[in-house]
Amino acid sequence: MSPHSITTHDHYLNAGYGVRSWLLTTDHKRIAILYMISITFFFFIGGFFAFLMRMELLTPDGDLVSAETYNKLFSMHGITMVWFFLIPSIPSVLGNFLVPLMVGARDLAFPRLNLLSWYIYVAGGLFTLAAMIFGGVDTGWTFYTPFSSTYAHSNVIPVVIGIFILGFSSILTALNFIVTIHTMRAPGLTWFRLPLFIWAMYATSIILVLATPVLAITLAMLGVERIFGVGLFDPALGGDPLLFQHLFWFYSHPAVYIMILPAMGVVSEVITCFARKKVFGYKFMAFSLLAIASVGFLVWGHHMFVSGQSAYAGMVFSALSFIVAIPSAVKVFNWAATLYKGSISYHTPVLYGFGFIGLFTIGGLTGLFLASIAVDVHVHDTYFVIAHFHYIMVGGAVMGYLGGIHYWWPKMTGRLYPEGWAKFAALVLFVGFNLTFFPQFILGYLGMPRRYHVYPPEFQVLNVLSSAGATILGIGYLIPFVYLIWSLRHGKNAGANPWRASGLEWQTTSPPPVNNFEETPVVTGEPYTYAEEESPGG
């Protein structure tokens, strides 16, 4: 027995050790762990596809993979990362673990539906994985018609079915969150005493339940067209391919906010804890999440400026896209104002928080370039777009996810990770990320189109820089993978509240007991009651 073993109390991890106790659990905390393992698996698969792409792009010629294989690589990278990692990442792992704890409940409202959502995720994931292994798919993650419906010869149907199945797991998780937040808050926990992470989960869940069914029916219609050879979206048979793009982006643009809003929730928690200050402008922070979620539904047409939609539609979508920048900027300014004159301590989670703020700002501002119609016509479908959305999805969402994992790891496992290694990894990730994606802004501006496996020789220097950065980034992901697993056995005992954080989840023991709280907590005040004198421990 190691000196740091956590056997002092009963908790959800030692409540049962058999396979059944995990695979048939309805405990939201165990389901969160199941999700964490599954999405990590898909993250490394998606990362492997990206690695092969960056290797191919080291040289201007197509010497590693053929054009056809390259098409499959970027399609499968996008599909895996978007649907099987990013969308479920923070909601299904951290959200599942924390929503009941943060609202002072014993579990989510529908624990069996929660377990079902994981099984649906796994079923969709394995289905898609099998389709990828046995031939793959080459349509891009966007499945644009008529290419995906008529011309592509790859496994479009199986992959589409896998994503269709997966959608129901998102819907069930989001439905569970909304109901839990509405009906199961602890006594005294009014809406404006909720942590911002809960507001973020709420806003995200609204998007998930309203947008995901549209993706489902769109993919179903694509499947019908492909199987029966009828022309729902095929102009030769009377259909309209633009309709597919409208329906697809009606889901897929809000999907970007499904990825970024949860990360904003994490960053809000982390920044206020490590600045030892109440969050600046709490209500503005809460309402800006809802504003992004609602306006985010009205901007999908900015993906179609060059697709042939009318100029007036383009102008309206452009203006609406600019409006999203306002609540986003409110959040960035309020984080900065929270840090201002705070007594900041530089623990690992807040390093990810800083990374998020900086990278999200770059990603957001370059988004405004793309929302301007004239600029978009110039850089559309170039590496500028690739760089922009990776700053949001990787620089924003993945940094937020890792920050959250580091912040709540002591709560989830009862163990502390080695702080030195963790800070080092955060730094490696930051450097690797920028080296990978900043050159792509320049490449795109110079005119290098996306989705090609060959390019003119003058682009090679920037591509080599990008591939080098990707290698550093890959190593950066492996370091936390190793020390977090190491900490499960050898990490120091965390105690209930290593960061001296406010919030109900820190009031209970680490790891929490099966029913979360010994007795139902009663909330008497606003969140984030930090006094500057007491520094976070850890």
Partner: protein, 215 residues
């Protein structure tokens, strides 16, 4: 009805919280369903605006009589469903079971009539993808009409089938005395779902059958 202990799941404080959670959960689920059908209705709207004449002509092959009967059948089923909920809320076990069974029967009747209509279409070569033949100038647009017809009514029928299965479970449980005046929420929630499926048809019927009638 004697002593009834209301089963409250461990995560809830009391039956009131459990009841509001279940009801809200169903409403949110129905919101996702609205968006699910909404995607198809949007496609229908776009193509009908682009091909108004062709859609009107294609709709003439529909059997308005059978469609009308089906509308009446489904509306009646919503009535028996509402009666089942009312009976369950008042702890009238026998009435509740009879009303649930009637609702299921009416749902099945709807599916049978729908099946007859599908068979007619198959005979007349109006099923896109299966030897589709349409004598008319705008066969392409007519085919769009029929794809959307089968998609919309097909997904509606699927929802109805799920609803019938749901009611079967509830009928058995009612008969076994699971529910009481204090605990009837599952029947209420299933009622919400049933009425939703009914309302979808209220929109589909004029969209599909009555284009010609109100032109």
């Amino acid at each position: 009805m004697g002593e009834h202990r209301i089963p409250v799941a461990h995560q809830f404080d009391d039956s009131v919280q459990q009841r509001s959670a279940a009801t809200l959960g169903m409403w949110i689920f129905l919101a996702t369903e609205v968006l699910f059908f909404g995607g198809m209705v949007l496609a229908y709207a776009v193509y009908r605006v682009l091909n108004p004449e062709a859609f009107a002509r294609a709709s003439r092959v529909q059997n308005i009589l059978l469609g009308g009967i089906n509308t009446a059948v489904l509306l009646t089923s919503s009535c028996t469903m509402a009666l089942a909920v009312h009976a369950a809320q008042h702890g009238q076990r026998r009435r509740s079971v009879i009303c649930l069974l009637s609702t299921m029967f009416l749902g099945l009747a709807f599916l049978v009539i729908k099946g007859v209509e599908y068979a007619e279409k198959l005979h007349e070569h109006l099923v896109p993808g299966i030897d589709f033949r349409y004598a008319g100038a705008d066969a392409g647009a007519a085919q769009l009409y029929f794809i959307l017809y089968f998609l919309l009514t097909g997904f509606h029928a699927l929802h109805l089938t799920i609803g019938i299965g749901l009611l079967a479970v509830l009928a058995v449980r009612s008969a076994l005395g699971y529910f009481s005046a204090e605990y009837s929420n599952p029947v209420e929630v299933a009622g919400l779902y049933w009425h939703f499926v009914d309302i979808v048809w209220i929109f589909l019927y004029p969209l599909i059958y009555l284009i010609q009638a109100y032109r």
